[in-house]
């Protein structure tokens, strides 16, 4: 059964890739490629769910195709199965959505063959990352995932901006891989690369080596997850990719960084000292707050969503950091609380961020622009997209009773429990983390009022927005599926959370923590006496909202409604130019956090030559350069450029000089190996 599902996953993706290369154009070709991807994703989801429900790991039989480094070894344990399921949850709707979305690439813009093939291979590589059972397989699939997604990012390669985004992505991702290779080399030592050997070997490492491995993995996986300041590629690459690929990259791929971190820090190393948890917590808090603050200043709808991915990775890491911290203190059930919060937010973020990216793609498809200042009034022109986007926006803003609220509630509870950890550091760090998380969710709500309000409400601000049309059925189905998941995962948390706590059993000595379900509906968190009952709450809310019109009817209230122009303070006509813009909406927050943003201002006023009181034109320009670009990456790029210039002298073009280099390098290697042997 599991072997069949596994083979089906592999075959469907491979056939999809093959089909895309052979055909993949036209209505039929696109449908076939997309359908095969969806089948592969469904099989992967079912496989993941089977492993989670039965709690039994699945070892795939793979013929010894590659004898290098122990060959391919594939095994799916519950932790991997969870992430495989998350891939499926987003990949199924995204593949269906892609069938319709890809129509814009039928013309010469980008190659549909490459896109379809890379999309299927990307999904395959991601799935196999969760299955990898030795270092060789893991790194191979990790690299495969990065390379295929690179090709997906540069799909619209006719734009210079896209190529630049791709360069950033490939550079940062490879720096990350370098860290990972170093970490895995240290972990492997003389043992074989099999994960089971790594667990044994990790316990023999010295504390210093363990710390180093942890730091390297945090950097390596963090660069993929998009922690600040390693996130620079994220707001560049995600918007450049086709929207359904952005949904997968933001919703799923960056989560595999979380998977890797959990795998190494918790599974292999079996947890560590308290400062590991504190470090992850701090990194998470900083990423969350800065991510949402920069999202607020974005007017490019997809870049805004990309910055929110940084924010949500931060929230996930806050949960995981709290979990690691508790783990180091030996309070295992509290550790489960934090980790479950992080894992549940992983699933939730995948669903609502996937949904929001598909929604943004739908808007892009209809208006041809990502600039929010040119949108508006889409609510009436694209009612379905608007509804789905609204659900996603409410979910990411952590509004009850949707799913985002539940996971943030769990992380909150974990942090509140952290207040009981002895020590003055915890007394300062934990309250600050609570404050940061609250600030993040408040700012996220503000940001999504802006994103939804400016994009979909009021009057259209451009001709394109005015003539926008609703997207094709398949795109709506894709969004609808994810919207339904966002709604169900709210009250449905009751069913999901016990499963999540079971996933963690055995990792770093964690035991199963029963999540008590009092009266079958209420969620009681382990060792904490806080509880909520989301199904009841959702029902109460719906009842309250639904009964108001009925009661008003019974009270015979005046139910007449007249339509009229908006009141324009005496103006005869309101034009879109008088509407509040996205920039204006974010202005108060820009002022509040001016110290962080440090916007550049440029004001040019042309006055009449006769008198300075007659202004002829005013030009105003203001830009915000993120501080990590300014302080970190610009100097770094300069340094690299400088070094590269120096090294260029080596390249003389003379063949005998190159031969000398070869000989020198060989001798150096021989000496080095002798030295290491000793």
């Amino acid at each position: 059964m599991m072997q069949t599902l596994f083979l089906l996953t592999i075959c469907a993706y491979s056939l999809g890739a093959l089909g895309a290369i052979l055909g993949g154009r036209g209505q039929l070709g696109r449908s076939l490629v997309g359908a095969l991807a969806a089948i592969g994703a469904t099989a992967g989801l079912l496989l993941g769910l089977t492993v989670i429900f039965t709690g039994q790991s699945f070892t795939a039989f793979v013929p010894a195709l590659l004898p290098v480094g122990g060959g391919l070894a594939l095994r799916l344990d519950p932790l991997g199965a969870f992430f495989l399921s998350v891939i499926g949850v987003v990949a199924i709707p995204a593949s269906l959505y892609g069938i319709a979305y890809n129509e814009i690439y039928e013309s010469e813009r980008g190659s549909l063959r490459l896109l379809g093939a890379m999309f299927n291979l990307f999904l395959l590589a991601m799935s196999l990352v969760t299955l990898a059972d030795n270092v060789f397989t893991f790194l191979l699939m990790w690299e495969g995932m990065s390379l295929t997604s690179y090709f997906l990012v540069i799909t619209e390669s006719d734009e210079a901006e896209t190529i630049r985004a791709g360069n950033w992505y490939i550079a940062v991702t490879h720096v990350g891989v370098a860290f990972l290779v170093a970490a895995f080399l240290m972990l492997t030592g003389n043992a074989s690369g099999a994960f089971s050997d790594l667990r044994v070997h990790a316990s023999n490492l010295s504390p210093l080596a363990r710390d180093l491995v942890f730091l390297l993995t945090l950097l390596g996986f963090g660069s993929k997850a998009g922690i600040i300041p390693l996130h620079v590629w994220l707001p560049r690459a995600h918007p450049a990719a086709p929207s359904y690929v952005s949904a997968l990259m933001s919703g799923v791929m960056i989560k595999l960084g979380i998977y890797g971190l959990l795998r190494v820090a918790l599974d292999f190393l079996g947890g560590g000292p308290a400062w590991w948890g504190v470090l992850v917590l701090v990194v998470g808090s900083v990423s969350a707050v800065l991510g949402v603050l920069y999202a607020l200043m974005e007017h490019d709808l997809k870049r805004l969503l990309a910055y929110h991915s940084v924010e949500n990775i931060g929230i996930i890491l806050m949960g995981i950091g709290a979990g690691l911290l508790f783990h180091s203190y030996g309070s295992m059930s509290l550790a489960v609380l934090g980790l479950v919060g992080g894992l549940y937010h992983t699933l939730n973020h995948a669903s609502f961020k996937g949904l929001l990216f598909l929604g943004a793609g739908s808007v892009l498809h209809a208006t041809g622009t990502r600039n929010m200042e040119e949108m508006g009034g889409l609510m009436k022109r694209m009612p379905w997209t608007a509804l789905f986007f609204l659900i996603g926006a409410a979910a990411i803003s952590a509004l009850p009773p949707l799913n985002g609220f539940v996971s943030e509630w769990l992380v909150f509870q974990a942090l509140l429990k952290g207040l009981n950890i002895p020590g003055i550091e915890a007394a300062i760090a934990m309250p600050l983390a609570v404050g940061m998380l609250a600030l993040t969710s408040g700012l996220a709500a503000a940001c999504f009022v802006k994103a939804f309000g400016i994009t979909f409400l009021a009057m259209p601000r451009s001709h394109e927005a005015e003539s926008a049309r609703e997207s094709p059925l398949l795109m709506r189905i894709g969004m609808g599926m994810l919207a339904a998941i966002c709604v169900v995962l709210g009250p449905g948390a009751i069913a999901v959370i016990p499963l999540l706590s079971r996933i963690l059993v055995g990792l770093g000595g964690l035991a199963e923590v029963p999540v008590s379900l009092t009266e079958g509906v209420s969620l009681q968190v382990p060792t904490s006496s806080s509880q909520i009952a989301l199904p009841t709450l959702a029902l109460a809310l719906l009842l309250a909202i639904g009964s108001i019109p009925v009661i008003l009817k019974l009270l015979r209230v005046n139910f007449r409604l007249r339509r009229s122009e908006s009141w324009g303070c005496g103006l005869t006509e309101l034009t879109p130019r008088m509407e509040y813009t996205a920039t204006a909406f974010a202005e108060p927050l820009r002022r509040v956090f001016a110290e962080l943003y440090r916007p550049s201002k440029e004001l040019t006023i042309d006055t009449h030559p006769e008198s300075k009181y007659f202004v002829q034109s005013i030009a105003y320009r203001s830009e915000i350069t993120p501080w990590f670009d300014r302080m970190l990456y610009t100097p770094l790029l300069h340094l690299i450029g400088y070094i590269a210039n120096k090294i260029r002298r080596l390249q003389s073009g003379l063949v005998h000089l190159y031969l000398l280099y070869l000989a020198l390098a060989l001798m150096g290697l021989i000496f080095a190996s002798r030295w290491i042997e000793r």
Binding site: M379, A394, A398, L399, P400, F405, W409, F412, Q413, L416, L419, N420, A426, A427, P431, G435, L439, G442, A445, V449, K450, G453, F456, L457, A458, M459, S522, S528, S529, S530, Q531, I532, T536, L537, A540, L541, A544, I545, G546, I548, L552, V557, N558, F559, R560, L561, R562, R563, S564, E565, S566, W567, C569, P576, E579, Y580, A584, F585, R591, V592
Partner: protein
């Protein structure tokens, strides 16, 4: 407590909250007028306003969408749900396990979220301005709320209101500590911000460039306006009750019998009147802050809350 009675109590406190909310706001207005040497409208004026609005037609902008129409119901519905979750006269209540303090805060944020969207929906500059400012203040106030909640939760180890109240009631010596007063001060400032009172927003203002809440709901009329105003008055009552009951829970009924409930209701109303008078006094004494001075006030409240939590951890 039998099931029937506890659910009866739930419905009872919901109806009581909804019924008293306009009166409470009217009382603040009347007190303010008297303190300012004005005659003022009688305290029951808000009831008359509600009746007037419910009888009028709704005028809706041609730009607006269904968000504009759904918002009043969502705002009122979420507020009504909160009245079920907050213990007003007795503790613990039947819905205590349904939602904790975080649920209360986020349900109210749900209302604010939709109000801000509705503010943008008509496409006027006033609506956008109000929405932008309201969300800014809501976002900056959020950390203080969360920290005050943590401060309150330390003692009982739970964010559920019933647990917090029971802990304070059974162990009053632990409750009266410096952190208790600091948390109260922090939350008091936030309540002023969340309910749109001076010095953050001026509830008496209309058609001024400084308005926040009023600007956001400027396009509303008729029954929609009635629902939104009623909900915001109820929110005011709920926040005052939270302040009163979380920090001074004494007087709340722990048994459900008619005499204790009557006494508890009287005590609750007494506490509300006291807080309302304090707010009326405050509002006659302070002027409205410039919008960009508001974050300073809110960061002050954040520092107070942080001190409350850390001091209670250190003193523990």
């Amino acid at each position: 407590m039998t099931n029937m009675m506890s659910y009866g109590l739930e419905i009872g406190q919901m109806l009581l909250a909804l019924a008293l909310a306009p009166g409470l706001v009217g009382l603040v207005r009347w007190l303010k007028a008297r303190l300012q040497n004005r005659l003022g409208a009688p305290p029951w004026q808000p009831y008359l306003e509600l009746r007037k609005w419910l009888a009028k037609d709704v005028v809706m902008s041609t730009n607006a969408s269904w968000i504009f129409q759904a918002t009043p119901y969502i705002v009122f519905g979420s507020t009504v749900t909160v009245t079920l979750l907050v213990p007003l006269i007795a503790t613990p209540i039947a819905f205590d396990a349904v939602g904790d303090l975080l649920v209360v805060v986020y349900l109210l944020l749900l209302g604010t979220f939709f109000l801000a969207l509705a503010g943008l929906d008509a496409g006027t500059a006033f609506g956008g301005m109000g929405a932008s400012r309201e969300m800014t203040i809501a976002a900056i106030a959020e950390p203080t709320i969360a920290l005050s909640i943590s401060g309150l939760a330390i003692g009982s180890g739970s964010t559920n209101l019933g647990q917090i109240l029971t802990t304070t009631l059974t162990d009053p010596a632990a409750a009266i500590s410096p952190s208790h007063f600091l948390a109260f001060a922090a939350l008091f400032i936030v309540v002023l911000a969340e309910t749109g009172r001076l010095p953050i927003d001026n509830p008496a203002t209309h058609l001024e460039l400084t308005m926040i809440h009023e600007a956001m709901i400027l396009e509303y009329s008729g029954r929609y306006l009635a629902l939104i105003e009623w909900a915001s008055w109820t929110k005011f009552l709920l926040f005052l009750s939270l302040l009163a009951n979380l920090f001074v829970p004494w007087g709340m009924a722990t048994l459900v019998t008619l005499p204790t409930l009557a006494l508890a209701t009287a005590a609750w109303i007494g506490k509300l009147i006291l807080l309302a008078s304090a707010i009326a006094l405050l509002e006659t004494r302070v002027a409205k802050l410039r919008l960009f001075r508001v974050p300073e006030l809110l960061s002050l409240s954040f520092v107070l809350a942080l001190l409350a939590v850390t001091s209670s951890l250190v003193l523990k």
